[in-house]
Amino acid sequence: MDAGPALFSILRQGDYLIASIHTALDDSQMLRLQQDLIDQVGRHRARGVIIDVAPLDVIDSFATATLRNLAEMTRLRGARTVIVGIQPDVAYAMVELGMNTATIETALDLEEGLRHLNRPRSPDPSRPHSVGLFG
Protein backbone atom coordinates (compact mmCIF):
# COMPACT_ATOMS: atom_id res chain seq x y z
CA MET A 1 0.00 0.00 0.00
CA ASP A 2 1.48 3.36 -1.01
CA ALA A 3 1.84 5.76 1.85
CA GLY A 4 2.22 8.74 -0.44
CA PRO A 5 -0.45 10.80 -2.19
CA ALA A 6 -2.59 8.93 -4.71
CA LEU A 7 -1.26 8.73 -8.25
CA PHE A 8 -4.72 8.84 -9.73
CA SER A 9 -8.34 8.91 -8.62
CA ILE A 10 -11.47 7.45 -10.15
CA LEU A 11 -14.80 9.05 -9.40
CA ARG A 12 -18.29 8.10 -10.47
CA GLN A 13 -20.57 10.65 -11.98
CA GLY A 14 -23.84 8.94 -12.85
CA ASP A 15 -23.10 6.45 -15.59
CA TYR A 16 -19.66 7.83 -16.16
CA LEU A 17 -16.30 7.26 -14.55
CA ILE A 18 -13.91 10.16 -14.32
CA ALA A 19 -10.29 9.19 -13.88
CA SER A 20 -7.86 11.94 -13.00
CA ILE A 21 -4.16 11.30 -13.19
CA HIS A 22 -2.31 13.39 -10.64
CA THR A 23 1.31 12.97 -11.58
CA ALA A 24 3.68 11.30 -14.03
CA LEU A 25 3.06 7.56 -13.99
CA ASP A 26 5.55 4.83 -14.69
CA ASP A 27 4.66 1.80 -16.77
CA SER A 28 3.43 -0.42 -13.96
CA GLN A 29 1.35 2.43 -12.56
CA MET A 30 -0.25 2.97 -15.97
CA LEU A 31 -1.14 -0.69 -16.05
CA ARG A 32 -2.66 -0.40 -12.60
CA LEU A 33 -4.79 2.49 -13.80
CA GLN A 34 -5.87 0.43 -16.76
CA GLN A 35 -6.80 -2.49 -14.55
CA ASP A 36 -8.67 -0.40 -12.00
CA LEU A 37 -10.70 1.34 -14.69
CA ILE A 38 -11.68 -1.87 -16.43
CA ASP A 39 -12.70 -3.39 -13.12
CA GLN A 40 -14.83 -0.41 -12.26
CA VAL A 41 -16.46 -0.23 -15.68
CA GLY A 42 -17.54 -3.80 -15.17
CA ARG A 43 -18.60 -3.33 -11.58
CA HIS A 44 -20.64 -0.17 -12.09
CA ARG A 45 -21.79 -0.85 -15.65
CA ALA A 46 -20.38 2.51 -16.65
CA ARG A 47 -21.32 3.80 -20.10
CA GLY A 48 -18.55 6.30 -20.38
CA VAL A 49 -15.04 6.93 -19.11
CA ILE A 50 -13.10 10.17 -19.13
CA ILE A 51 -9.39 10.03 -18.43
CA ASP A 52 -7.73 13.35 -17.67
CA VAL A 53 -4.07 13.10 -18.58
CA ALA A 54 -3.20 16.79 -18.19
CA PRO A 55 -0.36 16.24 -15.68
CA LEU A 56 1.40 13.79 -17.98
CA ASP A 57 4.31 15.71 -19.43
CA VAL A 58 5.29 12.76 -21.61
CA ILE A 59 2.98 10.31 -23.35
CA ASP A 60 5.22 7.80 -25.07
CA SER A 61 4.58 4.61 -27.02
CA PHE A 62 3.77 2.57 -23.93
CA ALA A 63 1.37 5.11 -22.47
CA THR A 64 -0.35 5.55 -25.83
CA ALA A 65 -0.70 1.81 -26.34
CA THR A 66 -2.04 1.40 -22.81
CA LEU A 67 -4.62 4.12 -23.30
CA ARG A 68 -5.61 2.70 -26.65
CA ASN A 69 -5.97 -0.80 -25.24
CA LEU A 70 -7.95 0.60 -22.36
CA ALA A 71 -10.36 2.28 -24.74
CA GLU A 72 -10.77 -0.96 -26.65
CA MET A 73 -11.35 -3.03 -23.52
CA THR A 74 -13.93 -0.63 -22.13
CA ARG A 75 -15.64 -0.61 -25.51
CA LEU A 76 -15.98 -4.37 -25.27
CA ARG A 77 -17.70 -3.80 -21.95
CA GLY A 78 -20.10 -1.31 -23.45
CA ALA A 79 -18.42 1.96 -22.48
CA ARG A 80 -16.88 4.77 -24.50
CA THR A 81 -13.59 6.21 -23.33
CA VAL A 82 -12.49 9.77 -23.97
CA ILE A 83 -8.99 11.01 -23.25
CA VAL A 84 -8.82 14.67 -22.25
CA GLY A 85 -6.12 17.12 -21.29
CA ILE A 86 -3.35 16.21 -23.70
CA GLN A 87 -1.02 19.21 -23.67
CA PRO A 88 0.08 20.89 -26.93
CA ASP A 89 3.72 19.81 -26.72
CA VAL A 90 2.70 16.29 -25.72
CA ALA A 91 0.24 16.04 -28.65
CA TYR A 92 3.00 17.13 -30.96
CA ALA A 93 5.41 14.54 -29.58
CA MET A 94 2.84 11.74 -29.84
CA VAL A 95 2.32 12.51 -33.48
CA GLU A 96 6.04 12.83 -34.21
CA LEU A 97 6.54 9.47 -32.53
CA GLY A 98 4.25 7.98 -35.15
CA MET A 99 1.76 6.33 -32.85
CA ASN A 100 -1.52 5.21 -34.29
CA THR A 101 -4.06 7.24 -32.37
CA ALA A 102 -6.97 7.09 -34.79
CA THR A 103 -9.10 4.92 -32.54
CA ILE A 104 -8.63 7.05 -29.44
CA GLU A 105 -11.42 9.51 -28.77
CA THR A 106 -10.22 12.78 -27.40
CA ALA A 107 -11.50 16.09 -26.16
CA LEU A 108 -9.84 19.22 -24.83
CA ASP A 109 -10.79 18.95 -21.17
CA LEU A 110 -13.25 17.46 -18.73
CA GLU A 111 -16.10 19.72 -19.78
CA GLU A 112 -15.60 18.97 -23.44
CA GLY A 113 -15.17 15.31 -22.62
CA LEU A 114 -18.58 15.17 -20.97
CA ARG A 115 -20.09 17.02 -23.89
CA HIS A 116 -18.47 14.53 -26.23
CA LEU A 117 -19.87 11.56 -24.32
CA ASN A 118 -23.32 13.08 -24.31
CA ARG A 119 -23.35 13.46 -28.09
CA PRO A 120 -24.61 10.60 -30.19
CA ARG A 121 -21.71 8.47 -31.27
CA SER A 122 -20.29 8.98 -34.78
CA PRO A 123 -20.63 5.84 -36.93
CA ASP A 124 -17.01 5.66 -38.07
CA PRO A 125 -14.71 4.93 -35.11
CA SER A 126 -11.70 6.16 -37.05
CA ARG A 127 -13.32 9.57 -37.46
CA PRO A 128 -14.50 10.28 -33.95
CA HIS A 129 -14.89 13.94 -34.71
CA SER A 130 -16.61 13.84 -38.05
CA VAL A 131 -19.95 15.44 -37.41
CA GLY A 132 -22.09 16.51 -40.31
CA LEU A 133 -19.63 16.69 -43.15
CA PHE A 134 -18.27 13.40 -44.37
CA GLY A 135 -19.82 11.00 -41.94
Binding site: Y92, E96, L97
Partner: protein, 160 residues
Protein backbone atom coordinates in the same frame (compact mmCIF):
# COMPACT_ATOMS: atom_id res chain seq x y z
CA UNK B 1 39.10 42.88 -27.97
CA UNK B 2 41.21 39.91 -29.00
CA UNK B 3 41.99 39.13 -25.41
CA UNK B 4 38.30 38.62 -24.80
CA UNK B 5 37.98 36.13 -27.62
CA UNK B 6 41.07 34.35 -26.41
CA UNK B 7 39.68 33.82 -22.95
CA UNK B 8 36.47 32.40 -24.26
CA UNK B 9 38.19 30.02 -26.62
CA UNK B 10 41.43 29.13 -24.89
CA UNK B 11 41.45 25.65 -23.47
CA UNK B 12 44.95 26.13 -22.12
CA UNK B 13 43.89 29.04 -19.96
CA UNK B 14 40.93 27.05 -18.80
CA UNK B 15 43.06 24.07 -17.96
CA UNK B 16 45.66 26.08 -16.12
CA UNK B 17 43.09 27.13 -13.60
CA UNK B 18 42.75 23.67 -12.14
CA UNK B 19 43.38 24.82 -8.57
CA UNK B 20 40.49 27.22 -8.81
CA UNK B 21 38.06 24.89 -10.47
CA UNK B 22 37.57 21.38 -9.08
CA UNK B 23 36.02 20.03 -12.30
CA UNK B 24 36.30 20.95 -15.93
CA UNK B 25 32.53 21.16 -16.37
CA UNK B 26 29.90 22.39 -14.01
CA UNK B 27 27.51 19.93 -12.47
CA UNK B 28 24.79 21.15 -14.75
CA UNK B 29 26.39 20.03 -18.01
CA UNK B 30 26.14 16.31 -17.65
CA UNK B 31 23.85 13.73 -16.11
CA UNK B 32 24.35 10.02 -15.80
CA UNK B 33 21.66 7.72 -14.55
CA UNK B 34 21.37 4.03 -13.93
CA UNK B 35 18.36 2.39 -15.53
CA UNK B 36 17.08 -0.81 -14.01
CA UNK B 37 13.37 -0.54 -13.46
CA UNK B 38 10.18 1.30 -14.29
CA UNK B 39 10.76 4.25 -11.95
CA UNK B 40 14.11 4.89 -13.66
CA UNK B 41 12.30 5.46 -16.95
CA UNK B 42 10.34 8.29 -15.38
CA UNK B 43 13.47 9.63 -13.72
CA UNK B 44 15.32 9.59 -17.05
CA UNK B 45 12.53 11.65 -18.63
CA UNK B 46 12.67 14.15 -15.83
CA UNK B 47 16.42 14.59 -15.96
CA UNK B 48 16.33 14.93 -19.75
CA UNK B 49 13.77 17.69 -19.46
CA UNK B 50 15.82 19.47 -16.81
CA UNK B 51 18.92 19.32 -18.94
CA UNK B 52 17.01 20.65 -21.93
CA UNK B 53 15.82 23.56 -19.79
CA UNK B 54 19.46 24.40 -19.03
CA UNK B 55 20.05 24.70 -22.72
CA UNK B 56 17.00 26.89 -23.20
CA UNK B 57 15.10 24.34 -25.25
CA UNK B 58 11.53 25.23 -26.16
CA UNK B 59 8.88 23.29 -24.28
CA UNK B 60 8.09 21.25 -27.39
CA UNK B 61 11.70 20.32 -28.02
CA UNK B 62 12.18 19.39 -24.38
CA UNK B 63 9.15 17.09 -24.60
CA UNK B 64 10.44 15.49 -27.80
CA UNK B 65 13.74 14.84 -26.06
CA UNK B 66 12.13 13.48 -22.90
CA UNK B 67 9.91 11.21 -24.98
CA UNK B 68 12.85 9.82 -26.95
CA UNK B 69 14.74 9.21 -23.72
CA UNK B 70 11.71 7.43 -22.33
CA UNK B 71 11.66 5.06 -25.30
CA UNK B 72 15.35 4.28 -25.01
CA UNK B 73 15.19 3.82 -21.26
CA UNK B 74 12.32 1.40 -21.62
CA UNK B 75 14.29 -0.60 -24.18
CA UNK B 76 17.05 -1.01 -21.63
CA UNK B 77 14.68 -2.13 -18.90
CA UNK B 78 12.73 -4.54 -21.07
CA UNK B 79 15.48 -6.13 -23.10
CA UNK B 80 18.65 -5.80 -21.07
CA UNK B 81 17.37 -5.41 -17.54
CA UNK B 82 20.11 -2.98 -16.62
CA UNK B 83 22.05 -0.18 -18.22
CA UNK B 84 22.82 3.50 -17.99
CA UNK B 85 22.08 6.71 -19.82
CA UNK B 86 24.48 9.61 -20.12
CA UNK B 87 23.00 12.99 -21.02
CA UNK B 88 25.35 15.78 -22.03
CA UNK B 89 24.79 19.44 -22.82
CA UNK B 90 26.47 20.41 -26.04
CA UNK B 91 27.64 23.88 -26.99
CA UNK B 92 29.42 23.23 -30.28
CA UNK B 93 28.55 23.55 -33.14
CA UNK B 94 25.37 24.78 -31.48
CA UNK B 95 23.39 24.13 -28.33
CA UNK B 96 21.93 20.71 -27.96
CA UNK B 97 21.70 17.57 -25.89
CA UNK B 98 23.46 14.30 -26.60
CA UNK B 99 22.17 11.05 -25.14
CA UNK B 100 24.23 7.90 -24.90
CA UNK B 101 22.41 4.83 -23.68
CA UNK B 102 24.35 1.67 -23.01
CA UNK B 103 23.44 -1.77 -21.81
CA UNK B 104 25.15 -5.13 -21.60
CA UNK B 105 22.09 -7.01 -22.66
CA UNK B 106 21.61 -9.65 -25.31
CA UNK B 107 22.26 -7.26 -28.18
CA UNK B 108 20.30 -6.84 -31.37
CA UNK B 109 20.87 -9.24 -34.23
CA UNK B 110 19.28 -7.21 -37.00
CA UNK B 111 19.93 -3.55 -36.37
CA UNK B 112 18.34 -2.36 -39.61
CA UNK B 113 15.12 -4.08 -38.74
CA UNK B 114 15.14 -2.79 -35.20
CA UNK B 115 15.27 0.85 -36.21
CA UNK B 116 13.04 0.63 -39.26
CA UNK B 117 9.76 2.47 -39.23
CA UNK B 118 7.21 -0.25 -39.49
CA UNK B 119 3.73 1.04 -39.16
CA UNK B 120 2.10 -2.32 -39.30
CA UNK B 121 3.41 -2.94 -35.81
CA UNK B 122 2.68 0.51 -34.50
CA UNK B 123 0.78 -0.86 -31.57
CA UNK B 124 3.34 -0.02 -28.96
CA UNK B 125 5.55 -3.05 -28.81
CA UNK B 126 9.00 -2.62 -30.21
CA UNK B 127 8.43 0.94 -31.31
CA UNK B 128 11.06 2.30 -28.99
CA UNK B 129 13.98 2.60 -31.36
CA UNK B 130 12.32 3.84 -34.54
CA UNK B 131 10.22 6.17 -32.44
CA UNK B 132 13.21 7.70 -30.70
CA UNK B 133 14.94 8.04 -34.03
CA UNK B 134 12.05 10.02 -35.44
CA UNK B 135 12.11 12.41 -32.52
CA UNK B 136 15.83 13.14 -32.52
CA UNK B 137 18.00 14.94 -35.04
CA UNK B 138 20.83 12.41 -35.02
CA UNK B 139 20.62 8.76 -34.13
CA UNK B 140 23.00 5.84 -34.27
CA UNK B 141 23.01 2.42 -32.79
CA UNK B 142 25.68 -0.19 -32.40
CA UNK B 143 25.05 -3.61 -31.03
CA UNK B 144 26.71 -6.95 -30.72
CA UNK B 145 24.83 -10.11 -29.93
CA UNK B 146 25.84 -11.29 -26.52
CA UNK B 147 27.64 -8.05 -25.70
CA UNK B 148 25.15 -5.26 -25.53
CA UNK B 149 23.81 -2.21 -27.27
CA UNK B 150 24.77 1.44 -27.40
CA UNK B 151 22.41 4.12 -28.67
CA UNK B 152 23.77 7.60 -29.36
CA UNK B 153 21.30 10.33 -30.22
CA UNK B 154 21.38 14.09 -30.37
CA UNK B 155 18.79 16.84 -30.41
CA UNK B 156 19.77 20.36 -31.35
CA UNK B 157 17.97 23.34 -29.99
CA UNK B 158 15.67 24.84 -32.62
CA UNK B 159 16.55 28.33 -33.62
CA UNK B 160 14.01 31.10 -34.04
Amino acid sequence: MDAARHLLECDVCARLSGPLLKRGKTEDDEVRIRVKGDPDIVEARKRARQLAAHSDFSRTDATLLATAVSEIARNIVRFAGDGWILMTLLEEPRKGVRIVARDNGPGIADVELAVADDFSTSNGLGLGLPGARRLMDEFSLTSEVGQGTTVTMTKWRSEG
